[in-house]
């Protein structure tokens, strides 16, 4: 870490100022979608144990509202938040300002317009029914063009960098910035514009879904972990020399692992077999990244008390390990035989999207937003509430999806149990799942209120230090 000299601090303030409006627009829209997606998700969750809830209107039937919620969370919350964090971090690590932010605002508008049309399209009955590609056929073009206009900032900012070294977070961000549009464009092309035949469609879909989670959400989360750990602890990443190896191994392995979602499916057996092998090989980079993270943290857990960012980042890191373990478990035939098609497979994706990615973005937001606005979090109690809700809601969901899914799988594989009885047996877990989503939504609400408070600096509270106490501005430097 650098010494806290004055020029560095001035430069950081310039970068923060240049990222202010794009950053606030991205985080603002991300939070809008987080609330909306969370609400839709809650409605869908209620319908699983109270099927009559909002069932009379085609717009709110489970089959539409569940994918609408997932799309709002992935494309509305996920991409906006990732870019809000990613562009800021890319500028910081490249020691250069975000230029021409006005154009970025135009692109953000178009992106959110696309997501709005997409979510409304799903609810209105224009869904394609391909997982995470449900948005109606005219939307992807809007999304791709506006993404190109946003993602290019990450690349140009990187290419005009004023730094000698390229840090781990930059590799992950740089890679993710390219992988998402490629994955998305190829999937759209092969499924909707010039559809491949037969079971190739599920293969393409699995490849896309696995890529979206593993080559977009995970890398962005890891970029946050690699950045904030050394930043807040004021010490370099442990065993950093292994990080490049882990990066390449992780992304190449993940890119090849998509077929592991198709174990037992009517596709050529080498497709799931390749995915399974890739998942086994992924143990190595996960161990290395674990060494990087927990080696850096070791002996410094006391710092957690002083920084809410650090606590969210630790949650994200633990979730990354957990997600990798789940992914590995889903490579064992005997496990898959039970867990496939149950709540457990929902858990696998939820851990990546929520516990790993979203937690990292919350941690990042608590650090970045006060710097963008040069303000402070007005309601520290709401910060605590948000963290608490994330932990409680996350635990409830992990139990509901994990234990419930396991029971569901066993019942499904017992042909003597009638299907109606399985549903009845699952009612408790469905209810617990609803409770989990409700608690998480409560946390999001607390976060949004705080965000609004940050934007409207009323009264004298604005003078307070950032809620992210324990690391004043002096501890900042280029990681």
């Amino acid at each position: 870490m650098n010494s806290p000299d004055q020029p560095v601090r001035t430069e950081q303030m310039e970068i923060d100022a240049s990222a202010k409006w794009p950053g606030l627009a991205l985080f603002g829209s991300a939070l809008f979608w987080l609330l909306l997606g969370g609400t839709l998700q809650l409605v869908a969750a209620i319908q699983l144990h109270t099927p009559a809830f909002l069932a009379d209107c085609a717009w709110f039937t489970y089959g539409r509202i569940a994918p609408a919620a997932q799309n709002a969370l992935v494309y509305g919350w996920g991409i906006n938040a990732a870019l809000g964090f990613g562009l800021w971090l890319m500028a910081r690590l490249s020691a250069t300002t975000l230029r021409h932010g006005g154009w970025l605002l135009v692109a953000i508008n178009f992106w959110n317009m696309g997501v709005t049309l997409g979510v409304l399209g799903i609810l209105g009955g224009y869904s394609t029914s391909f997982e995470l590609l449900e948005m109606p056929r005219f939307v992807p073009l809007i999304l791709l063009v506006s993404y190109a206009m946003m993602g290019v900032w990450a690349v140009t900012t990187f290419s005009i960098r004023n730094t000698e070294n390229v840090f781990a977070s930059q590799w992950y961000l740089f890679g993710a910035a390219f992988w998402f549009p490629w994955l998305y464009a190829i999937a759209q092309l092969m499924l909707l514009k010039a559809p491949v035949r037969g079971v190739l469609q599920p293969v393409v879909n699995a490849w896309f879904v696995h890529g979206l989670y593993g080559l977009w959400f995970v890398p962005v989360a890891l970029a946050a972990v690699y950045y904030f750990l050394p930043k807040i602890l004021g010490k370099p990443i442990a065993n950093y020399y292994l990080a490049p190896l882990a990066f390449w191994w992780l992304v190449i392995g993940t890119a090849l692992a998509g077929g592991s979602r198709l174990i037992g499916a009517p596709v050529p057996v080498w497709i799931p077999a390749l995915g399974t092998v890739a998942n086994f090989l992924l143990v190595v980079p996960v161990v290395i990244i674990g060494l990087n993270i927990f080696g850096t943290l070791s002996g410094r857990y006391s710092a957690l008390a002083g920084s809410v960012t650090l606590r969210f980042i630790l949650l994200s890191a633990l979730a990354f390990i957990f997600a990798s373990v789940l992914n590995l478990a889903f490579s064992f035939r005997d496990f898959v035989e039970i867990a496939q098609f149950t709540l457990l497979s929902e858990l696998r994706d939820w851990v990546v999207l929520y516990a790993c990615f979203s937690a990292a973005m919350f941690g990042a937001a608590y650090f970045i937003l006060p710097r963008l606005t040069a303000g402070a979090w007005r309601f520290p109690a709401l910060v605590k509430m948000h963290l608490g809700a994330t932990l409680v809601g996350g635990a409830l969901l992990t139990v509901a999806l994990g234990v419930g899914g396991w029971q569901q799988g066993h019942l499904l594989n017992t042909s003597g149990v009638a299907f109606g009885e399985i549903t009845q047996a699952m009612t408790f877990w469905f209810t617990l799942r609803t409770a989990g989503f409700a608690v998480l939504l409560f946390g999001h609400l607390a976060f949004v209120i705080n965000f609004v408070g940050l934007l409207c600096p009323l009264g004298a509270c604005g003078k307070k230090a950032p809620a992210d106490l324990g690391q004043g501005s002096s501890a900042e430097g280029h990681a």
């Binding site: 069932a55 599920p202 077929g259 979602r261 299907f419």
Partner: protein, 222 residues
């Protein structure tokens, strides 16, 4: 790593490798799978869907049925799909070439539907059964949490009118009450036609022999 160009090439190669290795290779292998002509009855299998059923498959997509229903039967020895009468055999890749949009699904909040219209497996599953299932799921599937799709039906007052020939029979407490009839819309008609078309009853000799051989020694018969 300091070189931006190397990083870019690596990033590009990563995805290109997986695209070529996974998608292109798979396409090369099964992209041209064709119908099979049975030597005895000289018919091509899988048989194409009727026009109404194709429309129904679009309703299936727009309602998001895939959120809760898979359409893939796992083979003997992997799960209890055959025991649950979801199929007479595991699904083959060839079964799906008749479908324009292939939705094998990833969640079994509801039962598998690949053979929903197979009367050998489910003798009760006639058109009336599906209409009632869609209008009032509890009336035919007690304990289910499937949402009612009443919006696929119209409820007419009978007063002074000729009853519709399409009206469905809904048991007492699930129906709209006396003096009313429940009539399926066109969307319901086509969706039910699609559900009734779902059956993979034909067993292809090539796949059957290949799978039988594969199950004996070890996995990986391809």
């Amino acid at each position: 790593m300091k070189n931006g160009l190397k990083l870019f090439l690596g990033v590009f190669a990563t995805l290109a490798l997986s695209w070529v290795g996974l998608l292109l290779t798979a396409h090369q292998q099964i992209g041209r799978l064709s119908q099979f002509k049975d030597p005895v009855d000289e018919t091509l299998y899988p048989q194409p869907l009727s026009g109404l059923a194709v429309q129904g498959s679009m309703v299936y997509q727009d309602l998001g049925c895939v959120s809760c229903h898979t359409q893939q039967v796992r083979r003997e020895g992997f799960g209890a799909d055959l025991g649950r009468k979801w199929g007479q055999r595991g699904s083959y890749a060839r079964d799906y070439i008749r479908d324009e949009v292939v939705l094998i699904g990833q969640s079994r909040l509801g039962p598998d539907l690949r053979n929903a219209g197979n009367l050998e497996l489910h003798p009760y599953a006639d058109a009336d059964y599906f209409y009632r299932l869609l209008y009032a799921p509890q009336s035919v599937a007690p304990g289910t949490n499937m949402p009612a799709h009443a919006f696929l039906f119209e409820v007419h007052a009978l007063a002074g009118r000729q009853p519709s020939t399409h009206a469905i029979k809904v048991p007492g407490r699930f129906g709209p009450g006396p003096g009313y009839e429940v009539v399926p819309t066109n969307r319901a008609h086509s969706l039910v036609a699609y559900l009734q078309s779902l059956k993979d009853s034909y067993d292809y000799p090539i796949e059957r022999s290949r799978n039988a051989a594969a199950e004996k020694p070890k996995e990986g018969g391809h």
